[in-house]
Assembly symmetry: C2
Homo-oligomer: 339 residues x 2
């Protein structure tokens, strides 16, 4: 399989992207197509030890910047590294695409060039959800700010398939993010969605309260994209603020500094666990192609992880499984409608 990588997307592009791709060649058997300015990429690859034929370059003359208005950027910059990488998937020259660039532009580009899978109402960004126990996923994490209950039902199905085939969780526990445990709690969206999830062929365990999210009480957490985005960014911010406060405690005196030194390795592992950006790439489930988003601040290791995640996703055939499940559901719905 071939994975196209937007070499000029992200805060540390193109250096970290190139290094990450080189690292990935040792961890996956898939080939990589680096997309972006050919001269610069050749120069960067010259300094690396690349296994024969595993990385090729596809020239793209433009770059979409972080702050650019998404829709306009995608429309105007047709020869940008991001758009060209997406088109490689559309044309069948690549089987998956990875970018750490402008999220809005990437989503817009994926919708425009690859489109939705047949039967899918809205694709969803599916982000790892770090917790005290294992890692689950939350979706939608920001692709759809205004949602309807039917969208959330599909998110639940797609998330469950992903959790089972990529994260290896058998019969994943699906929960609806809500502000109370009881069925009748929540806003109009969650109340209606609860009814749909209850009837669905899923291991639906009911509502999950925000307080329980970091405790890993569910494997797949379903919500609208606005709430999901609030959740991942608030966990990130709260963890970061707590570590800032901890630093204040540590630097109080020589004795506290010594104590902090002893605890440092343990603290570092907590920090890594809570940082969802550490988990590499995040798939956009429901588009007709394999699209992985890496964090904007990705370093080489994160890019390597993202490429490997895309590779695992490809070999698990997740998109085919989603199509299977949703086509059979749609057929059922049509039958029911006809009765």
């Amino acid at each position: 399989m071939r994975i196209a990588v937007d070499a000029f997307g992200g805060d540390n592009a193109p250096e970290a992207i190139v290094k990450g791709c080189v690292q990935a060649t040792a961890k996956t058997s898939d080939d990589i197509i680096l997309v972006g300015d050919e001269t610069k990429l050749k120069e960067l690859l010259a300094g690396e030890n690349v296994p024969e034929g595993r990385i090729t370059i596809r020239h793209a003359s433009e770059v979409i910047e972080t702050g650019e208005p998404p829709a306009e950027a995608v429309r105007r910059k047709k020869d940008s590294s991001m758009v060209v990488a997406l088109q490689l998937v559309k044309n069948g020259e690549a089987d998956a695409v990875v970018s750490a660039g402008n999220t809005g532009a990437y989503l817009t580009g994926a919708f425009r060039y690859l489109g939705r899978m047949k039967g899918i109402k809205r694709p969803a960004l599916t982000t790892p959800m770090p917790s005290v126990k294992d890692v689950g996923v939350i979706l939608d994490a920001g692709a759809n700010v205004d949602c309807r209950p039917e969208f959330l039902l599909q998110f639940a199905h797609m998330g469950a398939i992903y959790a089972e085939h990529v994260l290896g969780i058998k019969n994943p526990r699906v929960a609806l993010l809500n502000i109370g445990a009881e069925e009748a709690k929540g806003n109009s969206l969650t109340k209606e969605t609860y009814g749909l999830l209850k009837e669905a062929d899923l291991n639906f365990i009911g509502n999950i309260e925000p307080r329980d999210v970091p405790y890993g009480m569910a494997d797949v957490i379903v919500c609208d994209g606005f709430t999901g985005n609030v959740v991942i960014k608030l966990i990130e911010g709260t963890a970061s603020a707590l570590f800032t406060m901890l630093k204040g405690v540590f630097y109080k005196s020589i004795i506290t500094k010594l104590a902090a030194m002893i605890l440092k390795p343990g603290l570092k592992s907590i920090k890594a666990k809570m940082d969802y950006s550490e988990y590499g790439g995040v798939p956009l489930l429901g588009v007709d192609g394999v699209v992985f988003k890496a964090h904007g601040s990705s370093d080489a290791k994160a890019i390597c992880n993202a490429v490997c995640a895309a590779s695992t996703y490809l070999s698990a055939g997740v998109n085919d499984k989603i199509k299977e499940v949703l086509l059979s559901k749609n057929a059922e719905d049509e039958e029911t409608a006809e009765e």
Copy 2:
């Protein structure tokens, strides 16, 4: 002034409630009316050193439990400590009411017995927002799960008045909770609300991203009640999960245990800072009466804090200030409409 306290609401009622009220008599000059089973309350007060005439008892034979369906509980249990306490405010026998009981029932009861202030579309729960720096507020924190932009505009005004007159923050910075910094970001609710806030007579500083919330980047954070409730519960859960993980690091060996002991006082202060329940009571802004909600798990100290918060709120005349500002706004709006 007189503050009615629901003596049988909350996990530690009635003991902690009675103790908290006794403590409050030393910190405020307001008198307290304890509402609930007279025999039990007399018994509890007998063991306490109560200043002459500062605490009286109002009998109520019923109790609304934590798990009861709110609307039904309020309708059926007319002689419950919570409903009787609310009615004392309605009848003018008390100037404020405090309860640590069933939140849903308390909100329902406040709406039913006290109603909204004239001109207020929806009352809002206004919760302290702990941060690395100072403490601001977030509203709505859970009273209205489905909101319209006009509601959020009023929340902003009420929150700003509260922040200024109770928290003592001059010209408080008002921000809209959103998933991006730019005006065009967010869902349909936040996009429309942004336009209203921009035009309002407020120190509106734009959107605040969830990541920045724990850093105290705004004094008043405005959002719908579903999102607000997610925010306060997720911060609580994330902080708690992190402390659970820290414990794991601390108990690893004798050396880490010793290191942890040295850092303990500092860690305790962080924990207290991040716990919004530590800040005593939370007002329901916009109802026609002074209504404070204490956390369900309040101990005597938290109840004392809640009574003191209600007392400060009363002497600052916050409700009159809200009425003033909103009546003048409504008059302006009517003029504009007539033009």
